[in-house]
Amino acid sequence: MALLGDEDTKYLRESFAELRSDVSVTVVTRERSRLVLVGADAPPEGAEDASAEVKQIIDEVAATSERIKVTHVDAAADAERARTLAGEHLPAIVFGGATSKGTLRYFGLPAGYEMSTLIATLMDLGSGEDMVPAEIAGELAKLTAPVHVQVFVTPG
């Protein structure tokens, strides 16, 4: 069953028609194994449950625009790559774009209000425009050490 309705899909197609450059979306999840391995660590509760929905919603969103390029990484099959991309937390959505410089990651299922954050981020990444004025870009260029911004949200 589709997570996006016909109206949602129509809205996204119209919105994403404005994308001027490709946007990359890497979805890092853990496939649910049908085997139970004695002694193996179980994936965190909750993260496992959301993985399938995260994959589905991203695939449905990406299907509305050829500009959105999705890659799936299964942590069970490629643990090292998954760790490099997402660290210790799954499911993760990692965003990239032609002009994007830093690291952008969403952990969990973007539902409710956060769905609009997902859409806005895709629009920003594919806009081909600078996200901050030149003056602020100049200030940000003075950063010499990594800065880690963490935002905690909840579906609204």
């Binding site: 965190p44 909750g46 993260a47 959301a50 937390h89 965003f95 774009g97 002009t99 994007s100 410089k101 830093g102 690291t103 952008l104 990651r105 969403y106 952990f107 969990g108 299922l109 973007p110 539902a111 956060e114 954050t117 806005a120 981020t121 920003d124 990444l125 600078d130 996200m131 901050v132 602020i136 870009a137 200030e139 940000l140 260029a141 003075k142 950063l143 010499t144 050490a145 990594p146 800065v147 880690h148 911004v149 963490q150 935002v151 905690f152 949200v153 909840t154 579906p155």
Partner: protein, 72 residues
């Protein structure tokens, strides 16, 4: 705040912006004592509560480049 964080990360290769759905990561929510959302942390510093806008987040990010006061 999530979009503002992402926009800053798009603008600097020094910035990593991680957005967490708090209910799905209770161990992190507990670690950082998340009692309301959105809650934003910059380098594990004092939490920024609410949708206070990108300017305040920018200020906090730029402040990381300021050497700590000597206390004088």
């Amino acid at each position: 705040m999530a979009r503002a964080a992402f926009q800053l990360a798009m603008s600097s290769d020094k910035i990593t912006a991680d957005v967490f759905e708090a209910q799905e990561f209770p161990e992190l929510a507990q670690k950082y004592q998340v009692r309301g959302v959105p809650m934003t942390l910059v380098n594990d510093g004092a939490p920024i509560m609410g949708n206070v806008g990108g300017a305040k987040l920018l200020q906090a990010v730029l402040a990381t480049a300021t050497p700590p006061s000597s206390g004088a």
